[in-house]
Amino acid sequence: MILIASLFIAAIVLFVLLRLLPGDPANALLGVGATQQQIAAARAQVGSDQPLYVQFVSFIGNLARLDLGTSFVSRASVLGEIGNRMSVTLPLTFFGFVVALVLAIPLGILAAVRSDKWYGAAISVISQLGIAIPVFWVGILLVTLFSINLRWLPSGGFPLKGWANFGEAITGMILPSLTIGLVMGASLLRYVRAATLDVLGSDFLRTARALGASFPEALIRHGVRNGAVPVISILGIELASTFLGAVVIERVFSLPGLGSMLLLAIQQRDYPNVQGVLFISTLLVLLIGFAADIAQRLIDPRLRGRGRALA
């Protein structure tokens, strides 16, 4: 129920935001110097001559049937185009997320357990950069180093044939994924470290140690499960923001993903494309948040009684 209600509110927000865009969407269909009849025909075709409430009802109805219409510019199916673009954005998000996890979890725990050592302190300081550094700049620096100076990897682009050209597609993914992973990993690390510090100061860990468990044993048996709960909710937020933040990264590496589709659609005032990308993104973001919520309940039985979120 909550998921559907959230989607409904998101659809309203989307509708309002899109009607804020100036100019009639029908203009996208017309050339310069179109006649009155042509304008009227175009408006009838895209439905912008209808009253707002009619537009809203058909908007919601179409979304509910996942009918996202066709692009004003290319006349291609919006859902089909989104599917194509997803084949770039989803792997990119996934690899970036994996890099972030691989970096953040061990380093975050290390920074907390060894906070009295110089390297524990150094890890924490470097992770502070994560919230202050623009992701596109990290991308530019990595390109400068690995593509231009060392010439190890391509500076951007994606094979026209997509994943059919597997080798080229994978090498095109390395630098963008690394960029996302580094920045996301740095901010994630701060939460892992904080959660670990909480666990280290907890009574249950002291009790486990008093009952004879060794430090690593106590940390793994009791610490991970307790520390994971706050980290997972952050993971959900980070995953969602990475997915949506891909728009900037795709620009740095000229990747034909969902982000570049949105940017182009905004520039061309291609309403169906803008609306489709935003709706599908919102759907995914809500689903990710939902999955994080369920994962937390699985790990922490205490949360299970806390009302039902299941739709």
Partner: protein, 282 residues
């Protein structure tokens, strides 16, 4: 790096060190930003030298692909970043605090509806909302970017204000003030705002950093202010194509951005500890 001491927050001295570093970094940008109002080394729009010159005594950071002095552009970048940060936070604060207070005072169902809407708005990242609003304004200028970011930030401010205000509203002294005849506007002005202000102002400092980075991203995407507004994001975008011959153009604006964002964050951390000495930062 002076901020190395930040990791031992229990230590009082390190707090003041972080605060000092924050004040220094932000102060430097403010000083440069103010200086640009009265003096610039070169005309920012004119060719000041050859194309893509390296750093020299005449051009401290060299020149860009149109022969403009890079250091001059960077100085203007400081001013623009500060205007964007202050402007966006001011707009976000006015809208956010008003909405947050309304929600806190509203009836149960209206409060629930506002809270749910805010949660969803926050799920939309700042940058996407800003992209849409900038696209919505016919001519992209600095103000459309500032308004866009302000609106995007207001959802975060509103949520925080609502939570903080609700916490104050259940206090006994509010009931006491009500029974002794104080009106709601008076209670907001005397009891609520002063109580929630410390936490809010620290949050504003963090939002400032977010706004500066978001504006740079917008400019990088080509949705920011047009020339001659030399935003760091646009300098970066222009320099990306010539990174091999003139790497400084792609490095310097990034360092400026990071130093301002870190400075503001250090300032926020320091302020939080100064306001609430009992808080144990981690």
């Amino acid at each position: 790096m002076s901020s190395a001491t930040m990791t031992a927050p229990a230590d009082k001295k390190s707090h003041s060190l972080a605060l000092m570093a924050g004040i220094l970094l932000v102060g430097l940008h403010v000083a440069i930003g103010l200086l640009t109002l009265v003096w610039l080394p070169y005309d920012p729009t004119a060719m000041a030298g050859g194309r893509l010159e390296g750093p020299s005594l005449l051009h401290w950071l060299g020149t860009d692909r149109l022969g403009r002095d890079l250091f001059t552009q960077m100085m203007i970048g400081s001013r623009i970043a500060l205007i964007v940060g202050v402007g966006a936070v001011a707009i976000g604060a006015v809208i956010g605090v008003t909405l947050g207070l309304l929600a806190a005072f509203a009836s149960k169902w209206l409060d629930d509806a506002l809270a749910a809407t805010l949660d969803i708005l926050i799920a939309f990242p700042t940058l996407l909302i800003a992209m849409l609003v900038v696209a919505a304004s016919d001519t992209a200028n600095l103000w459309s970017a500032i308004v866009a970011l302000g609106i995007a930030l207001s959802a975060i401010v509103a949520r925080l204000t609502r939570i903080l205000a609700k916490r104050v509203l259940v206090m006994d002294y509010i009931t006491a003030a009500r029974t002794s005849g104080s009106s709601w506007p008076k209670i907001v002005a005397i009891h609520i705002l002063p109580n929630i202000w410390p936490t809010l102002s620290v949050n504003f400092a963090l939002q400032f950093g977010l706004a500066v980075i978001a504006e740079a991203s917008l400019s990088y995407l080509g949705l920011g202010a047009p020339p001659p507004n030399a935003s760091w994001g646009r300098i970066l975008q222009e320099a990306q194509g010539t990174v091999y011959t003139a790497p400084l153009g792609a490095i310097a604006p990034g360092i400026a951005l990071v130093s301002l964002a870190i400075g503001v964050n250090l300032l926020a951390d320091g302020l939080r500890d100064a306001i609430d000495p009992t808080r144990r930062a981690r």
